[in-house]
Symmetry: C2
Subunit: 319 residues, 2 copies
C-alpha cells in the first residue's frame, strides 16, 4: 500500500511516496514556490509532483502538513501567512477528490511533532512538545502518545507566549513574545538596529554580512557569534533566554518528558543552546523534570509526520 505525504511550506513544496511500514521514501520531490505563488499555483505544483512520484499508481492514504492554521476535523486550511488565497480552502476534500483516497491535513508544527514522536527524537516518549524556531516560532504537543491540538486546533503557540512584558513590540501587538526575541528575522532586525546605532560595534558581524546589513540572517548571526562577535553573541543569548523562559513555563504548566527543538535557528551553537538549557532549568520548578533535545528528522519532520497521519488513517479503516 502506498502512502502519499505532502508538505506545503511557506516557500517550498515537498512530496514523498512511502510504502506503508517502510522507513525510507520510495520517491521524493521538492521545489520552491514560484515568486508570486498563490494557493492555486501551489496546489497545481503539488499535484504535478505527486502524480510524477506516484507514476500511475494510486495512494491508499494521504497525509498533509500545511504551514499555517488548519481546522483538523474538516481538513480546511484557515489561511497562510506567507501565500495568498488559502483562506478556507477545503484541502482535504480537494485531495480526496483528486486522488480518490482518504486524506488527513494538519498544521506543520503538529505534524512535525507527530513525525518526531513516531520516527525521530520522540520515539517511546508519551509526552513531548516539538518547537520549531525559524521564520516564526511554533509548537506542537504529543500528550498520552497522541497529538493534542487544543479545543480550537490552536494549541502549541509557544511563540506568542509573553516572556518579557516590557520587551520589544511583536507584530502580534504584544511585547516580549518568544517569537519576537527568538525568531530568525527578528534577530536579524535587532542586529541591524544595533549596528546602525553604534558604528564601532559588531565588526565581525559586519564583515560576515559583507558590510550589507540587509543581508543579515539568523545563520550569519550564528557564524559571527562563533567567531566571537559580541553583538551576535548577545542577540543569540537573548533568543536562547526567551526560548528558555517559554520552555520553562511550558514545563511547569504541562510537565512533558521532552522538548524537541527544530528549525533553522536551532542549528546555532553553544551560545544559544547552553542558554536555552540553563534558563529553562532555572524557570522550571526543581521537581519538574524534562529534557531539551534537537529534532532528529530535520526538515523532513513534517513529511514523516504526514506519513504517520496517513498510516493512522489506514490502521483506523482496517480496525
Amino acid at each position: 500500500m502506498l502512502i502519499l505525504a505532502l508538505d506545503f511550506g511557506g516557500t517550498k513544496l515537498a512530496a514523498a511516496v512511502v510504502k506503508k511500514g517502510d522507513r525510507h521514501f520510495q520517491s521524493y520531490q521538492r521545489t520552491l514556490s514560484p515568486p508570486k505563488a498563490n494557493s492555486s499555483t501551489d496546489i497545481q505544483i503539488m499535484r504535478s509532483l505527486a502524480l510524477e512520484l506516484l507514476n500511475g499508481e494510486k495512494p491508499a492514504a494521504i497525509g498533509v502538513s500545511f504551514g499555517g492554521p488548519v481546522d483538523f476535523k474538516t481538513g480546511t486550511v484557515r489561511l497562510s501567512h506567507h501565500v495568498d488565497g488559502w483562506e478556507n480552502t477545503p484541502l482535504k476534500q480537494i485531495l480526496e477528490n483528486e486522488f480518490q483516497a482518504p486524506a488527513s491535513v494538519d498544521n506543520d508544527a503538529n505534524v512535525a511533532a507527530l513525525g518526531e514522536h513516531r520516527y525521530g527524537a520522540g520515539i517511546n516518549y508519551e509526552s513531548l512538545c516539538y518547537i520549531t524556531v525559524s521564520t516564526g516560532v511554533g509548537g506542537g504537543w504529543i500528550l498520552n502518545s497522541k497529538p493534542w491540538r487544543g479545543s480550537g486546533g490552536m494549541a502549541g503557540e509557544i511563540g506568542h507566549t509573553v516572556v518579557d512584558p516590557s520587551g520589544p513590540l511583536c507584530l502580534c501587538g504584544k511585547r516580549g513574545c518568544v517569537e519576537r526575541l527568538a525568531s530568525g528575522p527578528y534577530m536579524a532586525q535587532e542586529a541591524r538596529t544595533r549596528l546602525q546605532i553604534d558604528l564601532n560595534c559588531g565588526h565581525i558581524l559586519r564583515r560576515i554580512c559583507q558590510y550589507q546589513p540587509e543581508n543579515i540572517t539568523g545563520l550569519l548571526i550564528n557564524q559571527a557569534a562563533e567567531n566571537g562577535d559580541k553583538i551576535a553573541i548577545e542577540i543569540l543569548k537573548k533568543a536562547g533566554w526567551a526560548l528558555g523562559v517559554g520552555i520553562g513555563n511550558a514545563a511547569n504548566l504541562i510537565n512533558p518528558q521532552r522538548f524537541i527543538l527544530g528549525g533553522g535557528v536551532t542549528k546555532a551553537g553553544p551560545h544559544f543552546w547552553e542558554t536555552v538549557q540553563q534558563v529553562a532549568r532555572q524557570i522550571a520548578l526543581p521537581e519538574v523534570e524534562f529534557e531539551i533535545v534537537s529534532a532528529a528528522l530535520g526538515d523532513e519532520a513534517p513529511l514523516w509526520g504526514a506519513v504517520a497521519m496517513a498510516e493512522d488513517l489506514l490502521n483506523k479503516s482496517s480496525e
Copy 2:
C-alpha cells in the same frame, strides 16, 4: 455503595460520605488541623472523622485530595509545604489497609479540577484548566475529559510560570512568578510594604485593618479596594494582570475551552476580575478562544473531585 471522600488541606481536614451516584453528601465533617499538626495527627484526626461518618459501614472506594505534591500512580504523598512529617507517606496504602477498600490519592488542584469537571463549572467541557488562587496559586488540567497530570505528576504549576522577569523575588528563587504577584499572602506583604514606605497613602486600607498592618489579608485588600483605596486597587489590579498573563500564555500553549478560577482571592470584585479577563484576552492570540469563569463548587471542589476519583475506581473494577 458508599464512597468515602477525604480532603487533607493545609490547615483544615474535611471528610464526606456519599452514596455512589448521589449528588449530595450523606454526611459531612470538617475540622481545623491542631496548631502543631504533623502527618500522624492529621491522619489520626481524619481516621476519627471518617469512622464517625461511616457509622459502622464499610466504604466501597475512597477518594483523597491532598494539599501538596503526590505521586498519583503509587498514591504516595511527596511532602506538604504546610504540615511536617508527610515526606514519602504511602497514604493510599495506609487508607486501603485501614478501610479495606481501594483508594485513589491526588493533589488538591488536580482533584478540584476533576470535581469541577464532573459536577461543577466544567460539566460538558472536554478541556479545562482549574486554577486556585489562595495562599498559593496552583492549577489542574482536564484534557480529553481526563486529568492530565504530566509525566512526573507536576503539571498545572501555573503559579510558578514567570510573567515578569524583572518583577519581585518569589520564594521559589525566581522573579515575577504568578504566585508572587497574585497569592493572598504576597498581596498582603506588598500592601504592608507600601503602607510603610508612604505614610500618606492607603487611608482606607489602614482603617479597614484597624491600623494593624500585620492583620492585612487578601480579603481586607479586596474590602479596601471596593471602598476606593488606591493602594488596594493597584495591588488587586497587579494580581489580576499577573494571573491574566499566566492564563493568556496557557491559552496560547494548550487552547483549553475554559479556565475555572477558585480560591479565596477569586472572591475579589471587578478590579480583579475585569483585569484578569482583559489581560488574558490581550495575551492570547485572537484565534485562541476561551472563557474564564468562577468555580461552581467553591471549597467543596476537592471533596467532589475525590468522590469522582472513587467512582472511577468502582466503575473500573466493574468493567
